[in-house]
Chain length 259, copies 2
């Protein structure tokens, strides 16, 4: 179970983040934003830094100009039928380890990382002015992206702040997107309460809190999608520190009833 069990949470959207471009030192920009966000510094022991995928991908150059993509016939046919960009469909298929569903205008794939999501996490909006054909891919190794940010924040502030890289995923059966974790450093993405006696002293059987995903969702509530705020500090959540990987969240194939 979590190291802490608090009753009060605060989420501070970082202020003053500039537009991020390929090659930018994102960890340094985040440290500067922490400095310009009232109350953010010094970090506290129960802080987690949540950084959205898009700025990570842009800084790392995980972007593609769709004008360079030649779509296969399958992508062209699907795009024509469902009014989509065939080059983007092509890119989703190229980035996929496995196509889970391709129907109703939706392409759901398993990415190289093991995430199952719509469009392989490839995203066209908010990538910067005058960039109509540029899309972002998921970062190649989001855990490593999180670790780099964590290290530089620690060097600058002297405090080891766990980092979550977040992205917006849809869900089966429910409309709308929620932010979830696609990379972590310094915290357990799952808080395992199995075997812990509950409030009444009975043993809880199947409670594993997806705490990194909930941290991502809490951060999203302060970031929105429009305001150019790509990072937030979540203060006071119940989580456990550890060296861990987002791979811990991926359901093993043998448990997956929706392949």
């Amino acid at each position: 179970m979590a190291d802490t069990e608090p009753g009060r949470l605060e989420v501070l959207a970082l202020e003053g983040m500039p537009e991020v471009a390929p090659g930018d030192d994102l960890p340094a920009l985040i440290v500067a934003a922490l400095r310009s966000t009232p109350g953010a510094l010094p970090p506290r022991a129960d802080d987690v830094l949540v950084v959205t995928q898009k700025v990570v991908s842009k800084a790392e150059g995980a972007i593609v100009d769709l004008t360079t993509i030649e779509p296969r016939a399958e992508a062209v046919a699907f795009a024509e039928r469902w009014d989509r960009d065939a080059r983007q469909v092509e890119l989703v298929l190229r980035e996929a380890k496995r196509v889970v569903r391709m129907a109703n205008g939706v392409v759901i794939t398993e990415t190289a990382h093991g995430f199952v999501c719509a469009n392989g996490g490839i995203d066209a909006s908010n990538v910067g002015p005058g960039t109509g054909s540029i899309v972002t891919l998921l970062p190649a190794d989001p855990d490593a992206s999180a670790a780099r940010i964590r290290r530089q924040v620690r060097e600058a502030t002297g405090v080891d702040v766990p980092v979550v890289i977040s992205d917006s995923f849809g869900r089966p059966w429910r409309l709308g997107i929620v932010d979830v974790a696609i990379g972590v450093s310094g915290l357990l993405p799952l808080d395992d309460l199995r075997g812990t006696p509950d409030h009444d002293g009975r043993v809880m059987k199947a409670t594993i809190r997806a705490v990194a995903d909930e941290l991502a969702s809490a951060a999203e509530l302060t970031l929105g999608k429009l305001a150019g705020r790509p990072a937030a500090l979540v203060r006071g959540a119940a989580f456990s520190r550890a060296e861990a990987s987002i791979r811990d969240v991926l359901m093993p194939e043998s448990w997956d009833l929706f392949r």
Copy 2:
């Protein structure tokens, strides 16, 4: 899009909630807890009250004693194979409108409300001391439960605070549970950004934020599963006020690729 676009969020777990029993006036208990939680009153215009399913079900008497349940042969066989309680499996099947998957020890059903979730939202833990065979069902009409709490909070405080009823759901492809909304009153569960220009002035095509689900997840981070804290006030989130229903979140059958 949301009426507000803030950069700072606070979540206050309500303090002093007693153990809830069938017939209790839950809205009155919540009003009392608001009064004993420092900083909660007066409510602010950007507050949302999140109340977990279990206390709602208990107060409304949506509980079943498993010793009264006679399992059918299918439930007995499944329970024996997967080391589960046949009476609980039976109850899940009785509450189901449709069985989505029944394999690997997991029963995923569509409930009468239209929610697709494991075990039909039926839950054995934390239902009170000395109640080993008692389980909670989902509230019959969680939107109505939310509306009752909202009305009584408004009468007591003079402020109209939107209410979300939350429950913990698993997800395909990812381990762990996250809290989502199963009932709403006074806010749009989906914040539709489609057609809104993004930060760069391009039109965003498919962004519908599942804001009620993210509010539920943010609240869970302060409630945990062990501490007997069943409600929280989320202050400062971006959401839109409206008369709405959690049914707005349910994916139409024709869009569902995972039936």
